[in-house]
Every structure is written in structure tokens, then in C-alpha cells.
């Protein structure tokens, strides 16, 4: 019996000891200037693999090699959705990375709920950074309620990718369609019953934003108090999608893998055109070469006006860091968004160079001469619009995508009805 009791007490003592030990460990970790190297360690979370992931890892390595004050650890976290929910959970657990990415439509949620740090004071104190050099078309999503919460990092706009070999076979101008009318003619001419369709496009709110923008409309009304997508412009956009899809010249893959499906259709020559982020340009050029076709890019087709959403992610700092970590995080953000790095990222992936000086640099200009496909997105940026940043926008996007899909699948459900239904569900979320 005695042995048992001794054992039990030993257990209790051990438990208490390990608990204390953990606390100490944690405390020392939090103010860490790691003893062995003397460098401040920060963690950086990013989204997406392939070329984009390599680009992130390479840049971080270059940053770490360029100085010996700060050591950044880069960690891959999946797509934007995963990255956001993991950041949120980690923040609640007080274990968030010091620097992370916000997909631009989510800047508002993160800033307003106090998860990200207001960068305005850092920018004011720092003479090295010139905000005017950032492309103004990309800055719209940096400001939340008048303060800067993030700097443009890997930014994009949707563009039109075309299989030029198929365009030529159909006797079309490889420059691509300019407006909806031409786009429709292209799609019709490129559709061959049973073998290929003009365009394969998943129901994506990002593309819908582009079509609404091209019709001169907005997704949300001023001040974000009400949705606007069920107005004239939205209805026109969805009617256009529905008409083309019913004619069979626009294929709409559905489900979770819809984007991958569309990309596959394009790679296999089952669809002659797709919309896509400029971020996929390098990848798509490689795919085109592999499959032996020529690739060209063009603006998103316009309707009444030119107007495209921008996309991609801004670099943000999480809130509540110690001054020392803040300094390190700021240095890292500043370095990552500087001219040389944005040139590197743009060449590596196809993302936009976010700085005006970068666009004008010899490096980029010679690339544009050599591979003009890279220039399309930069030129289109003059029509770039910020994405809505209302806190409920992620949920509203889900609702809207459901109703759009429903209207495309059900012959009798008119676009106006579907959008009104979505508005009815979405409006209470904006109150």
C-alpha cells in the first residue's frame, strides 16, 4: 500500500513540475532573442504551393541571408480559406504568426476584429518607404477605416487566357475578344459539339465581380450597408452567363473542384479559353508548352466600361506583438514589398509588380518585350477596383455563389429572381 501511495504522490509532484517547466519555457520563448544566434525570430505564414510557394520560400531565404538581425521562418498553410481560419484559431490561442497574408477581401474582418496591426505609425516613422510608389490601383484594399493595415504583396487581376492554336483554327484574331459581343462570337466559333467548348468557367464571385464591374455596377452599395449586385449591372452579368451556358458555348463545371476542372479543360484543349488570375501565368505558359499550343492573354471583356477587381493578398502584421517583434515584422514586410522583391515575385509567378518603379524598371520592361503576355495584367490595372471588405463578405459570397449556381442549373429561375433571393439573405448580414 505504501508503495502505491508513494507512487501517487510522485505522479502529482511530477505533474506540477512539468506544468511549471512548460510555463517557463513558454515565457522565455515569447521574448525570444534566440540566445545562440542573437537574431529575433518571427514566423511568416503563406498560402499556395507550386511556383507561388517556391517564390515565398526563396524570398524568405534571401531575406534571412541579407541581414543577421532577424530570422524568418516561412510556413505553408494551404489556400486562402485555410490560411485565414488557421490564423484566426492561432490568434485566439495566442500563438499567431507575426506576419501573415490577408486575401484582400478579408482585410476588413481581420482589421476590425483586432487581429491585425495598424501599420500607419510604422509608415510615418519610417523614411525608407514611399507609399506613392505602390500602384494606386492596388492600394484600395490596404486601407480599413482610414488606416493602413497591409501592404500589397502578391497581387493579381483576373485575365483571359486563350489557346491561340484553337483560335487560329477557327479563323479568329489571336488578339482576343474586346467586349461581351465579341467574346460571345469567339465562344460560339470555338465550340465544336462533343470535342470542345469556347470557355470553361467555374462560378466564381471574383469573375462575377469582373462582369458586374464591366457593366458599370458594384457588388455592395456605398458604405457597405446593402448589397448592390441585384441591380441592373448584376442582372445583366448573370443573364449573359446564363444565356451562353444554355447555348452550350460556356461550360460551367460545378462543385469543389470546379476551378481545377476548368484548368484541366483548358490544358487538354477541351476549352479554348478560361479566365484566371494573372498569378497562374507562369504555370499556364508551361502547361501550354507541354501540351503544344500557343497561349495568349487579354483583358477581361468589357461591357459598358472596363472594370476588373484586383485580387491576391496583402502582407499584414498580427496585433499585440512586443515592440521588438513588431520592429522585426515591419522590417520583413518592408523588405518583401520593396521594388526588387516585387520584380522577383512578378517574374517568378506572373503576379503584378506592385510598385510603379518596378513596372518601369529595365528588368520588367525587357520581360514585357520578350513575353508580352506578362504585360496584359499590368495594363489592365488602370481599370482595377478594390474588392469589397465588409466583414460579412465571405458569407455573402457563399450565398451569392449558391444562388448563381441555382439560376444556371434551373432553367426557369430567372437571374433577377436568383439575385433578389441572394440579396434578401445577404442584406441582414450587413446591418
Amino acid at each position: 500500500m505504501k508503495n502505491v501511495s508513494r507512487f501517487a504522490w510522485l505522479l502529482v509532484v511530477l505533474l506540477v513540475l512539468t506544468a511549471c517547466g512548460n510555463d517557463e519555457d513558454k515565457a522565455s520563448k515569447e521574448n525570444k532573442v534566440s540566445a545562440d544566434s542573437g537574431r529575433t525570430e518571427i514566423t511568416y505564414w503563406y498560402a499556395f504551393g507550386d511556383k507561388i510557394g517556391e517564390n515565398n520560400e526563396n524570398l524568405v531565404k534571401m531575406f534571412n541571408d541579407s541581414q543577421d538581425e532577424i530570422l524568418v521562418k516561412a510556413e505553408f498553410q494551404g489556400g486562402y480559406g485555410d490560411l485565414h481560419s488557421k490564423t484566426q484559431a492561432a490568434f485566439a490561442a495566442k500563438n499567431a504568426p507575426e506576419v501573415t497574408l490577408n486575401e484582400i477581401a478579408s482585410m476588413g474582418v481581420f482589421a476590425r476584429s483586432g487581429m491585425t496591426q495598424d501599420l500607419t505609425p510604422f509608415i510615418e516613422k519610417d523614411n525608407d518607404i514611399n507609399l506613392d510608389d505602390f500602384n494606386p490601383g492596388l492600394m484600395g484594399n490596404s486601407y480599413v477605416d482610414g488606416n493602413i493595415y497591409g501592404l500589397p504583396y502578391l497581387r493579381s487581376t483576373p485575365i483571359l487566357y486563350m489557346n491561340v492554336s484553337m483560335l487560329k483554327d477557327a479563323g479568329l484574331d489571336p488578339k482576343g475578344p474586346k467586349d461581351w459581343k465579341e467574346f460571345e462570337e469567339y465562344a460560339r466559333a470555338l465550340t465544336k459539339e462533343g470535342t470542345s467548348v469556347g470557355m470553361s468557367m467555374p462560378v466564381s464571385i471574383w469573375y462575377f465581380e469582373a462582369f458586374v464591374g464591366a457593366s458599370g455596377g458594384d457588388m455592395l452599395a456605398a458604405e457597405d450597408k446593402e448589397v448592390a449586385f441585384n441591380g441592373q449591372a448584376g442582372v445583366e452579368a448573370l443573364e449573359y452567363w446564363k444565356r451562353l451556358s444554355q447555348e452550350g458555348i460556356l461550360k460551367i463545371p460545378a462543385g469543389d473542384e470546379a476551378s481545377a476542372q476548368a484548368a484541366q479543360d483548358f490544358a487538354n484543349g477541351r476549352s479554348a479559353m478560361i479566365f484566371g488570375s494573372t498569378a497562374n501565368l507562369t504555370n499556364n505558359l508551361a502547361i501550354a508548352e507541354e501540351n503544344g499550343f500557343e497561349l495568349n492573354t487579354a483583358f477581361m471583356p468589357s461591357n459598358k466600361v472596363n472594370g476588373v477587381p484586383t485580387g491576391g493578398a496583402n502582407l499584414v502584421m498580427t496585433a499585440g506583438l512586443s515592440p521588438e517583434k513588431q520592429k522585426a515584422a515591419w522590417e520583413f514586410i518592408k523588405w518583401m514589398t520593396a521594388k526588387e522583391q516585387t520584380i522577383y515575385a512578378s517574374k517568378y509567378t506572373g503576379y503584378l509588380p506592385s510598385r510603379l518603379s518596378a513596372v518601369e524598371s529595365e528588368d520588367m520592361q525587357s520581360l514585357y518585350k520578350e513575353i508580352p503576355q506578362y504585360k496584359v495584367a499590368v495594363d489592365q490595372l488602370q481599370y482595377g477596383k478594390a474588392r469589397p471588405m465588409a466583414e460579412a463578405y465571405p458569407e455573402i459570397s457563399t450565398i451569392l455563389a449558391d444562388e448563381i449556381t441555382r439560376s444556371l442549373l434551373e432553367r426557369d429561375l430567372s437571374p433577377k429572381e436568383a439575385l433578389d433571393q441572394a440579396a434578401k439573405l445577404a442584406n441582414p448580414l450587413l446591418q
Binding site: V109, S113, G255, P394, E395
Partner: protein, 289 residues
Amino acid sequence: MSWIKARPYVMIFPAILVFTLFFLYPIGYMIFLSFHDWNFVSPVKEFVGFSNFTSLMEDAKFLQVLRNTFMYSGLTVFLTISISLLLALWLNKKGAMYGMVQGAIFSPHIISLVSISMLWMWIMDTDYGLLNWFLGLFGITNIPWLTDPKTSLLSLIIVAVWKGIGYYTLIFIAGLQSIPRDIYEAAALDDTNRIRTFFKLTLPMLSPTLFFLTIIGLIGSFQVFETISIMTKGGPINSTNTIVYYIYENGFRFFKIGYASTAGVILLLIIGIFTVFYFKLLGRKVHYQ
């Protein structure tokens, strides 16, 4: 207090600690959150009374989610049990072939659900999938398994049944083997036909197993998440959204923790009812020897 008196409490302390920390505390906290409006990080948790519950009950999307969940659970459990009972009756024999078949149908049970989801996504692909290719051989045109709201839930049920039958069959075989041979001999002496033997003897003797599997199956399928998260993300048009995915979506995608917790409370209630039902009925309506 003397050591003798304290001893049981000391002994049970670790178990209670773990139980409190990982079961009671989260449940209590979830119930607390269900009366609040909170986005997970803001320091303020606004008390809103029962408004989360009332808006959840008026939420057409949530009602569809409930319908989906019941439909999914009911059909999955019914199909899995029927198929595996038939398989068990067939496989409850000695011989290398039976062992092999049993092993083959059991193998999905030990594969991670994530891998299974990826595999089936490829099998069920509308244009390039194995399943549609196979059906194409019989002249059946491409079925949009996962991408049409009419078939998507059914497709997920097929995956769940495929994964479940191996385990269920194993339990059924164990159940069949524990039925004493002499009752069958008695029945044979009375010249009872096979169908009658099955319904009057096998089924009642198997009822504890049947009951156990039904309850476990229902509780399990109410909590389905992985296949949905990977294969459909609740779509298309909400057709495969079930309670647990809905909780995840609201909590981690839309930052509505209070609302998600409320849905969690509803799930707790439903599963609680099944569990109580299970313990109450156990040993009463079910035939034990």
C-alpha cells in the same frame, strides 16, 4: 482527512482532470458561447440571450442542413447495415476465399478518410472519372456525381457505405458466431425453412448487434465532416452541407462563433437523445440470452 479516505480521489484525479478539461469544460464553454455574439478574437462577448437559437430556427439554410444530415445518416446506416448483414450471412463460413473477401471489404475501414475522399473524388469525376468510364461501357451517359445537387448527397452516402460495410460485416459475423448452434439444430429438426429461420431465430438473436451498430452508426454519421470538407465543401448549392460542416463554416469561415456554438448545442442535443435512447432501451427491447 486520512489517506485511506483520500486515496480513491487521488486515484481518480487524473481521469477526472482529463475528462473535465477536454469534455466538460468545452461543452460548458460552448453552451456559454451559444448565448453570445462573438467573432473569436474581440475582447467583447456580447450577450444576446436566445437570439442565436431563434435565428437558427428561422435560417432556411440551417433547416436544409438538418434535412441533409438526417437524410445522410438515415440512408447511410440503413444501407450499410442491410448490405453488411447480407455479406455477413454469406461470409460466415470457413474457407480461404471467404477470409480473403472479408479482408478485402474490411480494408477501407483502416484507410484514412482523407485519402478515401481524394480517391473517390477522382473516381466520381464527371468527365475523367473511373465510375463514369465504367458506366459508359454500358451506354450510360456521364453522371455529374458530385457536381449536381440532385446526386451529390447520394454520392457521399455511397462513399460512407463503402467505407463502413467492412467493419459492420465483421461485427455481424462475430454476432452470428455467438449464436448457439443447438437452436439451429432444433429448428432444423422441426423442418423450419431458411427464411423463417432467419426472421424468427437469427434476427432476434442478432438484435443486440443490430442495435449497437444502428446507434453507433447514427452517432458517427451525424458527425460526418472529412468527406464533405474535401469532396464538396457543402455544395453544390448547400446540397451536402451537414451540421458539423455548417458549424465549421460559420465558426471558421464567417467568424460567427456564437452562431456556430448554437448549432453545436443542437448537435449535442440530437446525439444526447440517441445516447439516452440507447442506454434506456438496451436490455429492455433487445433480446439477450
